[in-house]
């Protein structure tokens, strides 16, 4: 039997040429895009991928010098004793800030656009919400790694929260196991070894895997809100498809590199100074957590309804609501004002998160009274829903003119 002769191909640009797979193959396509998709708001996911890529690379560089038995000392040594170390650590921190901020932007953008509805979009949304939770988790774990006073305090708060949560009350053994997972036997080397493993391998790896699933589901469904079933036989100029390679790759590279450049400039302009280490808290110094933790930090002061674990049920509700939103949104319209209840909840979260953060900076750690908490929550609720419904009525009036 003669074997088909196969020759080496050295023109690497041909690697992107489409192949026709044999029948029965399962293919994952890299979608072509239309020119009207070359808009920055369709690329919020690409920014996140760029951020994750940069964090992985800068993370490996930091990892080379980090010592779990000497977390604070080695962090200080990275800043002061490693060539270009300060810029590497600072850009790792700022890119993490950017990633947390972008994960909110990406999620709320798709939330208000209703991009969670569609054949496989619900699943893409759910993996996205899990990624949202994981990104916040990895950020908090990274923030604990420097052994600053605020980081260690946060670790203690987490231990207490686990102990006092429903899990801890029903099964103290299980809560002890969870705490052991986070801090090991409690010694510095053990605790930071655990936190490092969770930060780098467990949560980092999980994010990497889930990003692949999320991206695959995106490639399966395509961008939301782009109609491909145009009734015109000849599509408009900006609706014609351009191939994934090189158009999509070039545009992704373009927005990613610009974004990474901006973050590096910020890092150069505002180099990170390490906060005081645990145990050297000075008189008059108020420990503030990072900005993305601040809303939850303040929620813990808002017991308000007699819940011993403060804002934990509220945070849980936030995540649960996000997970079930594709199944409870039964509106037929797709615009934000066509789905007033969903949009109202979105505005509620958009207002509540920064208000909690600012309140946290203004009155850190100050337990709030139940009446003040009630005023705050009902105020935010009123503003959120009344404005959305008022705009809906106004839009209807305008449409009737």
């Amino acid at each position: 039997m003669s074997e088909a002769k196969e020759r080496n191909e050295y023109r690497l640009d041909r690697i992107w040429q489409e192949e026709t797979p044999p029948p029965g193959s399962y293919t994952i396509s890299m979608r072509s895009i239309s020119r009207k998709e070359l808009r920055i708001d369709y690329w919020t996911g690409a920014f996140l991928m760029a951020a994750f890529g940069y964090l992985a690379i800068s993370g490996v560089l930091v990892f080379l010098y980090y010592q779990q038995g000497n977390p604070y000392g080695s962090s200080a040594a990275i800043i002061n004793g490693v060539p270009l170390g300060s810029i590497i650590l600072t850009s790792h921190l700022y890119m993490a800030y950017a990633m947390v901020a972008l994960v909110y932007v990406h999620m709320f953008r798709n939330y208000f656009k209703g991009a969670y509805r569609g054949k496989w979009r619900w699943l893409q949304w759910i993996t996205g919400v899990i990624l949202f939770i994981l990104v916040n988790m990895i950020a908090v774990l990274g923030y604990l790694l420097q052994e600053t006073y605020i980081g260690i305090s946060a670790t203690h708060v987490m231990e207490i929260l686990v102990q006092r949560s429903v899990v801890g009350r029903l099964s103290p053994g299980l809560s002890n196991w969870v705490i052991g997972l986070l801090v090991g036997n409690g010694s510095t080397a053990s605790a930071f070894g655990h936190i490092l493993a969770l930060h780098v391998a467990a949560v980092g790896g999980l994010i990497g895997l889930l990003i692949l699933v999320h991206f695959f589901l995106f490639e399966k469904s395509g961008p939301h809100g782009i109609s491909s079933d145009s009734s015109d036989t000849v599509p408009a100029k900006n609706e014609r498809n351009i191939p994934w390679f090189p158009a999509n790759v070039l545009y992704t590279g373009f927005v990613s590199l610009l974004f990474i450049g901006v973050v590096i400039i910020f890092s150069a302009a505002f180099m990170q100074h390490l906060l005081p280490s645990y145990g050297v808290l000075q008189y008059g110094e108020v420990p503030f957590p990072d900005w993305y933790i601040m809303p939850v930090y303040k929620l813990m002061d808002l017991a308000g309804y007699g819940l011993s674990t403060g804002g934990v049920p509220l945070v849980t509700f936030f995540f649960l609501f996000l997970l079930i939103v594709p199944f409870i949104d039964k509106y037929s319209g797709s615009g934000a004002l066509d789905r007033p209840m969903i949009t109202g909840f979105g505005v509620f979260f958009l207002l509540a998160l920064p208000i909690m953060a600012f309140w946290g900076y203004a009155q850190p750690g100050l337990t709030q009274t139940r009446i003040l908490t009630m005023y705050m929550w009902w105020g935010i609720t009123f503003v959120s829903f009344v404005t959305v419904y008022a705009m809906r009525f106004a839009k209807r009036d305008v449409d009737e003119i």
Partner: protein
């Protein structure tokens, strides 16, 4: 300006930037690291510009499927 000329000009600027990056990295990896980082950022942004030029050239050339 033709796309090819624009790319050559951009890469030329990058080569000049590279010399300064080399200088800062070797002469002051602690003291000058902020300058080094700014140059790195500018360099990355110039790569982004090259990508944009190629993309625009590609779209204008009309080699469009579908």
């Amino acid at each position: 300006m033709k796309s090819g000329t624009a790319i050559f000009a951009t890469v030329g600027i990058q080569l000049v930037i590279d010399i300064f990056m080399w200088y800062f990295a070797t002469s002051g990896p602690y003291a000058y690291q902020a300058y080094w980082a700014i140059l790195l950022a500018v360099n990355l942004m110039l790569v982004a510009v090259v990508m944009l030029i190629i993309l625009r050239y590609y779209i204008r050339s009309g080699e469009i499927h579908g």
